[in-house]
Symmetry: C2
Subunit: 301 residues, 2 copies
Amino acid sequence: MSVKVVILGSAGGIPTPERNLPSILISVDGEIILLDCGEGTQRQMMIAGYSLCKKMKIFITHLHGDHILGIPGMLQSMSLLNRVHPLEIYGPKGIKEFIYKNFDICKPSFDIIVNEISEGEIFSNKKIKVIGALADHSEENIAYSITIGASLGKFLPEKARELGIPEGPLWGLLKSGHSIKLENGRIVKPEEVLGEPKPGIKIVYSGDTKYCEKIVEISKEADLLIHEATFASDLSDRAHEEKHSTAEDAAKIAKLANVKKLVLTHISSRYKDTKILEEEARKIFENVEIAEDFKTYDFKV
Amino acid sequence: MSVKVVILGSAGGIPTPERNLPSILISVDGEIILLDCGEGTQRQMMIAGYSLCKKMKIFITHLHGDHILGIPGMLQSMSLLNRVHPLEIYGPKGIKEFIYKNFDICKPSFDIIVNEISEGEIFSNKKIKVIGALADHSEENIAYSITIGASLGKFLPEKARELGIPEGPLWGLLKSGHSIKLENGRIVKPEEVLGEPKPGIKIVYSGDTKYCEKIVEISKEADLLIHEATFASDLSDRAHEEKHSTAEDAAKIAKLANVKKLVLTHISSRYKDTKILEEEARKIFENVEIAEDFKTYDFKV
């Protein structure tokens, strides 16, 4: 399975000539997961070579304009392009009202399912699992952990037979990760009859937040943590007052969560040169880089 | 006086990697007039080198999403940039509701004056005069004629004296373009005591419309007519059904109005190569070109 993570917009609240407003695209075997949808996201998608007509789910971190104002225009273009697939949108309370109140302008001609969600397990299918965590921002912000291609280990029939488990429904329960109880009262856990599980690829996106332990929790061992770093530490007072992170804050999260790679995004327009952010983070966490629009991270699962 | 006309977005209803959604900027000695404000316009302005904090008036042709969805994000950025100047927005009935219903998202911190207007004289000051004409689209669409730097001729005191007009309030009336009545009953028209008037620069923008005589009227002798040409004539049935123009329609308007230059815009995303549009129009009107994002037209008044 091929997974691509494309930074569509790496700006903070105000775009710059180089950085569009926040959005990150994850392509999983041609299906699209969009994390936030700032103004201009539809065009960034086109420039990056992704169609608006594919299967797609949008996860919104919070209801500040720079993270959602790309939705109405995207819906209008999808309609003009005769999109067929329904579109699923997930976001905090209030996302429904925002989307529905602009329906008269964007006139969507396909099904839209809007889900108001909070923390915990948000979505799960055979390929993808999405977990949300409430971060710490001036507006309710959900950080997302997306695990792709994780699976239980292969079922080992010989081990099941050794344990005296009769072939049939009990095997099915164990294969799907459930414990069972044998007639003799013994509990068999699935890991006793399954091979090595596949961890899949884990990608975490913070949205807007100040330093937040909950993001450490959902980022444990992530392959990629995309964390906001609106400011450098010379503006840490302002960052914390406005409930944003510094590059140092983001690096601490990456270190504590033992992630493989950290990408800093939501860069304030004041930083024409982002060295100060990168160097500050690197003192704490080595494998860090600054998000740039259209930078792509490839994974094989 | 220096006047620059910058195409910020030349796309039709759907953006392309090359064309942003509709917007045209006119800079008059540093003040800005924006015609339409499709999604992404604020960033196009930045790329073109124009600040969001300058004196600015926005004129909206109609309430289709591709012409207005850049407004909420622009208002948010203006607030974050601590804009001081009030912002004037003009557009057809419904523009107020659209702007106000997104205030909770974009939280403007400066004064916004929204004017719902129709055809006729819309705005006028010493430098700029804006006239609107109802065009012919599926949604009420106002085409705009903007005349910049026009002035009455210089007042000629010797002519006034010759006609026996006493120095005083009557001179003032004539200077400002009003006719007067002398004691002997004779009517004096201002042109009898004024030198050659300055025509200024006239720029006309159609918005979305099928072929419409009213646009001929407001475009008479214009220096620049920016007219929509969503399709070429091979799709004239579709164009007319959807109340859009072909390149040929736009060229006919330019010819009848005897404009100096025609620029075709609102180009459908189907035309990767725009030669077909340009050639079709040139058969009717020689001085035509296709709008491209960031193309600039300079005038001295």
